[in-house]
């Protein structure tokens, strides 16, 4: 029996802008983690990673990052991932002002 799988999302940096993006269920990339596909099964996650790696014109360096189901969709678990959803804390730049469109 397989161990319980910690839920994850697939995230990467956008090729042109370099900002954080997340893979959605409908094979697109979103700047909003809440719209990401939450992966709860390891085999499925592996499949989705294969898809993500096949999108080099959009997504640079895709990886699996732990996430949880929140009220509006997946939310990050690790601090680093939290920062990627909003931007630096010393200046109002990044997603916290540009919006997670």
């Amino acid at each position: 029996m397989s161990r319980e799988y910690t839920p994850k999302v697939i995230t990467a940096n956008h090729l042109m802008l370099g900002d954080a993006i997340w893979l959605t269920e409908d094979d697109t990339w979103s700047r909003d983690i809440a719209r990401a596909e939450l992966l709860t099964d390891e085999a499925h996650a592996d499949m989705r990673m294969l898809f993500a790696k096949g999108q080099p014109q959009i997504a640079v360096g895709p990886y699996l990052a732990e996430a949880e189901q929140g009220a509006l969709g997946p939310v990050p678990v690790h601090l680093r991932e939290v920062f990627r959803t909003r931007g630096p804390s010393n200046r109002d730049h990044g997603k916290q002002v540009d919006g997670a469109i």
Partner: protein, 555 residues
């Protein structure tokens, strides 16, 4: 100041054209990221948490006003209106878009600048004393040697795939303002029997395994500089541990083989390659030296300086704290603080860069320096002009009088920007500076160096801070380890870890307890934090940091 030769110009332009083509091919899909990544890193382009980051070299920390204005223009046109000066005398732009980077590199080439070898396993930007050419205590201006090293190391065919990065720092004074002992190679210009040469340190470095460099040569004749450095790098290139990136730096090679063996191998290699250096390098050096000739200093009446100094306490305090002795009595070195309490250490807006450029042009023989402590220096100003300079800095919000004090904190970008970070460092610096501003204790505390890194890589030099702070990730939560008693000067010492780390909201109170302990322990106001620490040892500071433990022991 050095100006690009036709060769430099052609080399840098060719590189920009190549990179423009590489970016186009990455965007149209002909290059994969795996193929493109080493190419972008060779040109200083990183991918960070929120965006690309372009790291531009400021060789040996020297800029003229035109170059500073161009950095301002880049910040305004292609970034978000500011730049971040780093401990490596580089400037980092935090928000460039991939498609714009070739244009940015072209704009840099327009003013004799580039981002080559600011990343990757190569010889990096050679750093130097930021008071070079101006300091009262200097034997010789180290920058011509640094420029010679830049030319020699740029695209050096033997050294493009080193085991790891390689950093060289140089000072021309006995007082070490360039932290040479924390570099792979540290060079100090010295004089013996009327001839110039170098004391050569090797194997220093911070990071995971901090080490102070060891003397490998106590007097290297000036004309042997390139062959000897080439010999050292070449010995390490073969011996260096390519199997483990944490053991690949030369400090580990020196540690594993011993300094005597490294010295022996370097001598051996040196004798093989020395004949190949026919003296052309020394001719090149003489040409470079001519470009670093001291400016024509002017003698100006000092009355208005004295009047302002006597009448204006704010000006007086700024002069006392931010102005250093110049080799000419009627001149001074001005340190412009990029550490206004609450601001991000090392950040300057485009408008501030323009102001600093104008000051250099108007009052400073067109010279600016970036210090590894993330401040900007006007190295040659007449004392008579200090009141006008101070007034202009006040208008630009650049007149903080805090150089070398508790709010003059080095902080790396940390988790706010850096993809390698384990914790934030900028907000910790901001909060410490703001707290001591509120307490009005800064001047009472006196000279104190706090240095903060957001991960073990130690870009914030925390090991050599009198108080060092290292941000770690403990089970997903930021945790800050304190080291005490570090020193980055000619008496370089790696700080000692004080004990268990502190949570984000505990770190500022912990620093406050340390400072209160120091104020209670010092013999008088002239005894600095570091002196007190050296006299008393770590025990009373530990007691202040961990009062619960003390109480438990007492109970």
């Amino acid at each position: 100041m050095y100006h690009y030769s036709d060769f430099d110009e052609a080399f840098v332009r060719t590189r920009v054209d190549q990179f423009r083509d590489q970016v186009a091919r990455r965007i149209d899909g002909s290059l994969t990221e795996d193929e493109f990544k080493p190419l972008r890193l060779m040109n200083g382009l990183y991918l960070q948490l929120h965006a690309y980051m372009l790291r531009v070299a400021i060789p040996y920390g020297t800029l003229n006003s035109r170059q500073m204005r161009q950095l301002a223009l880049i910040a305004a046109r292609w970034d978000k209106g500011y730049g971040h000066f780093t401990t490596r005398q580089n400037i980092q732009f935090n928000w460039p878009k991939l498609a714009d980077v070739p244009d940015i590199l072209d704009a840099l080439a327009d003013v004799d600048m580039h981002a080559i070898q600011t990343s990757g396993n190569t010889i990096r930007n050679v750093t130097a004393d930021h008071f070079a050419g101006a300091a009262a205590d200097e034997i010789a201006d180290p920058r011509p040697f640094a420029e010679l090293l830049r030319q020699w190391s740029t695209d050096h065919p033997e050294f493009q795939f080193l085991p790891r990065k390689f950093k060289i720092a140089i000072t021309g004074a006995a007082a070490d303002r360039a932290v040479i002992a924390a570099h792979d190679i540290g060079l100090q210009v010295i004089e013996r029997d009327g001839a110039l040469g170098f004391r050569v340190l090797v194997g220093g470095g911070l990071g995971r395994t901090p080490m102070i460099g060891k003397v490998v040569h106590d007097f290297l004749p000036q004309s042997d500089l390139l062959p000897y450095i080439e010999a050292i790098v070449s010995v390490w290139n073969l011996l260096g541990r390519r199997d483990n990136k944490y053991k690949a730096r030369i400090k580990i090679t020196v540690h594993e083989h011993g300094i005597d063996e490294i010295a022996r191998l370097a001598e051996q290699r040196f004798s093989e390659i020395r004949p190949g250096f026919s003296g052309v390098d020394q001719q090149v050096l003489r040409d470079i030296e001519a470009q670093f000739a001291a400016p024509d200093f002017e003698t100006k009446p000092m009355d208005c300086f004295h009047a302002a100094y006597d009448a204006d306490p704010v000006f007086r305090s700024w002069v006392d704290i931010n102005v250093s002795a110049h080799k000419r009595d009627d001149h001074a070195i001005v340190s412009i603080s990029l550490k206004k309490p609450g601001a991000t250490p090392g950040d300057a807006t485009a408008a501030q860069m323009d102001v600093m450029a104008a000051l250099a042009e108007g009052f400073g023989h067109d010279e600016l320096r970036i210090s590894h402590e993330q401040n900007v220096i006007l190295p040659h100003v007449a004392r008579a002009d200090l009141p006008a300079i101070h007034a202009a800095l006040k208008d630009a919000d650049l007149a903080s009088a805090n150089i070398g004090l508790i709010s003059d904190i080095i902080a790396c970008p940390g988790m706010d920007y850096c993809a390698l970070a384990t914790a934030r460092s900028i907000p910790v610096a901001q909060e410490i500076a703001t707290r001591f501003e509120e307490l009005k204790l800064e001047h009472e505390v006196g000279p104190l160096k706090i240095k903060i890194s957001g991960c073990i890589n130690a870009c914030g030099h925390h090991h050599v801070g009198h108080i060092g702070i290292l941000g770690l990730d403990r089970a997903g939560v930021e945790n800050y380890q304190i080291t005490l008693g570090g020193d980055g000067t000619e008496d370089a010492v790696i700080g000692t870890r004080a004990g268990p780390g502190f949570a984000y909201d505990e770190i500022v109170p912990a620093i406050e307890r340390l400072i209160q302990a120091y104020l209670g322990l010092r013999e008088d106001a002239s005894e600095t934090f570091l002196q007190t620490y050296r006299r008393t040892g770590i025990a009373p500071f530990k007691a202040a940091l961990y009062p619960e433990k003390e109480n438990a022991r007492a109970a």
